[in-house]
């Protein structure tokens, strides 16, 4: 397997800022590379030295549990020196701008910077100012490319394909970078995408991205192979979008009743963290026959290992 991993591969981009920038061939390179790491991550010895001598900086401006630990673990398993910046103690809190921080970090010659930032486009700005590759771990509402890639890998793992599948993405689409990245990626791979949200949480002109918008969940979910639920991002909501969580749950929460409208073998996905009882019924979330939420987390490490390896080169 090591030889397969070491095989020379070419990707069109220097940075991974968004799915929008990638070609289908880029995506296939990343996904096939990630597949190689799935079994490694299940084996006893999980350590490789592919990135030995490389420095990876995780720059997280927003709190994150799973993405940050996933990237950290991915880097360490590949043998990189991983440094996670603690933003609360950093100069940014003292008024330093993102560009100044970038210049400072750049002077330390990292090989890759993983950034999460609350502002859309922050990773683009960073990428213009540093010499190394930049991986976007989520920027504002814009993109979260590794999440979309791990979602695709999970779907392929279970359904063996993406082309021709009918996929519903449901929830707070307006504030969701996961939704945007998934729309681009699943569209490119040939899925039919239904977007379900109350109109207050639906971005303007979303239909122009080649998806079918629905405000009625039962209609949107009908005959779908995949039901991807999104977290209600209360921390990004500045004014009243919804009357209450319980009304939201009644109309947009995934319950066994609503799931009946999807195909009988439909899979439930959620990027986490979940608001149980708000967007998803707690038993459904834990139903190992239907929910692949844990698998998403597991494959996330493999996808991030693939991205680190590819973009470090």
């Amino acid at each position: 397997m090591a030889s397969a991993i070491a095989k020379a591969i070419k990707i069109s981009q220097k940075h991974l800022l968004g799915i929008q920038d990638l070609s289908i061939s880029d995506i296939n390179i990343i996904l096939s590379e990630a597949k190689n790491f799935i079994s490694l991550n299940k084996s006893k010895n999980k350590k490789l030295d592919l990135l030995r001598g490389k420095t990876q900086i995780n720059l997280f401006f927003e709190p994150s549990t799973r993405t940050q630990s996933s990237f950290e673990l991915a880097g360490k398993r590949l043998g990189a020196d991983v440094m996670s910046m603690n933003i609360t103690n950093s100069a940014i809190k003292k008024g330093e701008t993102l560009i100044d921080t970038a210049m400072t970090l750049n002077a330390m010659h990292p090989d890759i910077i993983v950034i999460r930032h609350q502002d859309s486009g922050a990773c683009n700005l960073l990428s213009q100012k540093v010499n190394c590759s930049v991986l976007n771990a989520g920027d504002g509402r814009r993109e979260h490319p590794t999440q979309a890639l791990l979602d695709a890998l999970t779907i392929i793992d279970r359904k063996k394909k993406i082309e021709g599948l009918k996929i519903a993405i449901c929830g707070d689409i307006l504030h969701s970078r996961v939704a945007r990245s998934n729309i681009y990626l699943l569209n490119m791979l040939g899925a039919e995408i239904n977007i379900i949200a109350p109109t207050n949480l639906m971005p303007k002109d979303i239909g122009k991205l080649g998806v079918n918008p629905f405000s009625d969940m039962k209609k949107g979910i009908k005959d779908c192979d995949i039901v991807m639920m999104l977290r209600l991002q209360n921390e990004r909501m500045t004014s009243s979008f919804l009357s209450s969580n319980r009304e939201y749950y009644e109309y947009y929460g995934l319950t066994p009743d609503k799931l009946k409208f999807a195909k009988h073998d439909a899979l439930i996905m959620h990027p986490g963290p979940m608001n149980r009882g708000i967007e998803i019924d707690t038993n459904l979330a834990d139903d190992i026959n239907k929910s692949v939420i844990k698998e998403q987390v597991e494959l996330g490490v493999a996808v991030r290992m693939a991205c680190l390896k590819i973009f470090c080169e």
């Binding site: 929008q20 560009i99 502002d119 859309s120 486009g121 683009n124 504002g140 509402r141 993109e143 970078r177």
Partner: protein, 428 residues
């Protein structure tokens, strides 16, 4: 000063309905002595030296109705001297400055300071506005009458909009009594809250909060409805969308008012923002190509009266940030005319019309005797090679802040000389 003769020029002076090849004579006092086709080689004294302009254009000095200057409080962005140099390089000889300074222009003592600084440091005509409300807070009116007596030409909260409808009606009533010009930045702040770009496919793709076009339309509708009951001199500072144009067209049948548009909204659209170009974070935001085209139509249908630069200098530090954090606005006074000429070259608007919106129309709205080449008036004018191609380079911008919205843009038409009161203050 010696008498000056300019011959063989293409003279465009919409105020006096002049659009012909002719000459311009400036007397010893810097006033216009004669203008037009009657001024030619045959009827000037043969001993006099003259300048043959080889059919280059003479326009009245531009009147830019929406300019932000950093003085007082933000001198590091722009002061009167740098503003004056930038304006002259663009053929602009009169500017209306916004009251969004620190402190705010909201009382008579600061007007004295402004007039003194303007007179001492700038070579162009400065027309300061004062705020509509104290400290731009949108609650208490400023002293329109006293401020007007000090020389304030118009009242506006500049970047801000009067949100309170009752206050707006009272402002209109006062403005009516005191014959004051009110200029409103039309934006419903609840609808635009947190917004950075036009609400549409671009905001969705970039993941940026959108500003819906209805935020502008609602304030315009509200104000023009109020105006039906409380008539006063009312000017919409800038429009950006086709929805607003529809409202304006409908209301034109009922009330008198005037409308401005930024050259940015006339020349660019939301696609130009590309990947987070913070220099194109503007207010009002750049909208769709359909909106841009409707603004052009609006001009051709006389629904829009004025083109402004919306010159808002911001130092680079305020732009080298994420789109959300970056300051709003672009420097533009010196490219106002060349960029407007693009609309002539691409056949969108006739030349005479463009010059009218840049000179005589704003002067008429402001009730100032500028923006024309009338005999006996100050010789404020510019000479323009309207076909000369050049490329905008932000390093070469004279404004203290280099935040141009059109860096590297290819333009056709450049100001070669600018005169104020008969004195050549800019030469390329």
């Amino acid at each position: 000063m010696k008498k000056q003769y300019f011959l063989n020029a293409n003279i465009v002076d919409p105020h006096n309905s002049i659009e012909e090849i002719g000459g311009l004579i400036i007397n010893e006092n810097g006033k216009i002595e004669a203008v037009g086709k009657k001024v030619n080689k045959n009827n000037i004294p043969s001993r006099e030296k003259f300048i043959d302009l080889n059919e280059k254009y003479i326009f009245p000095g531009l009147v830019d109705m929406r300019v932000f200057v950093g003085e007082p409080g933000y001198e590091y962005k722009e002061n009167f001297k740098t503003l004056s140099n930038a304006a002259l390089a663009g053929g602009v000889t009169s500017v209306v400055t916004m009251p969004n300074t620190e402190p705010v222009v909201d009382n008579v003592s600061i007007v004295d300071f402004l007039k003194r600084r303007g007179r001492d440091k700038s070579k162009i005509n400065i027309y300061p506005t004062a705020s509509l409300t104290k400290n731009l807070e949108g609650t208490n009116m400023t002293e329109f009458g006293l401020l007007k007596k000090k020389g304030i030409v118009a009242f506006t909260d500049g970047l801000k909009t009067i949100q309170n409808t009752r206050l707006m009606s009272r402002i209109m009533k006062s403005a009516h009594d005191l014959d004051c010009l009110i200029m409103q930045h039309a934006e419903d702040f609840e609808l635009s809250k947190g917004g950075m770009v036009n609400d549409g496919i671009i905001s969705t793709k970039l993941g940026l909060q959108g500003i819906p076009d209805i935020a502008e339309k609602i304030i315009i509708e509200r104000d023009l409805s109020l105006l039906e009951d409380f008539n006063c001199r009312y000017h919409i500072s800038q429009v950006s969308s086709s929805k607003s144009i529809e409202t304006i067209e409908y209301k034109k049948q009922k009330v008198n008012f005037t409308t401005g548009v930024s050259i940015n909204n006339l020349s660019l659209n939301e696609n130009d923002i590309g990947e987070f170009r913070t220099f194109l974070k503007l207010s009002p935001p750049l909208r769709t190509e359909d909106d841009r085209e409707s603004l052009i139509k609006g001009i051709n249908k006389d629904l829009i009266d004025v083109i402004v630069s919306d010159h808002k200098p911001e130092d680079e530090e305020q732009k080298r940030l994420t789109f959300y954090q970056a300051a709003t606005g672009a420097s533009g006074v010196e490219t106002l005319l060349p960029l407007s000429l693009e609309l002539f070259h691409n056949g969108s608007i006739k030349l005479n019309k463009i010059i009218q919106l840049l000179t005589s129309n704003p002067a008429k709205i402001l009730k100032i005797d500028k923006g024309n080449l009338s005999t006996g008036n100050d010789a404020d004018f510019c000479i323009v090679d309207i076909y000369k191609p050049w490329i905008v380079k932000k390093e070469k911008i004279k404004s203290k802040s280099k935040n141009t919205s059109i860096d590297d843009k290819k333009l056709q038409g450049i100001v070669t000389n600018t005169f104020v009161k008969g004195i050549e203050l800019f030469k390329i």
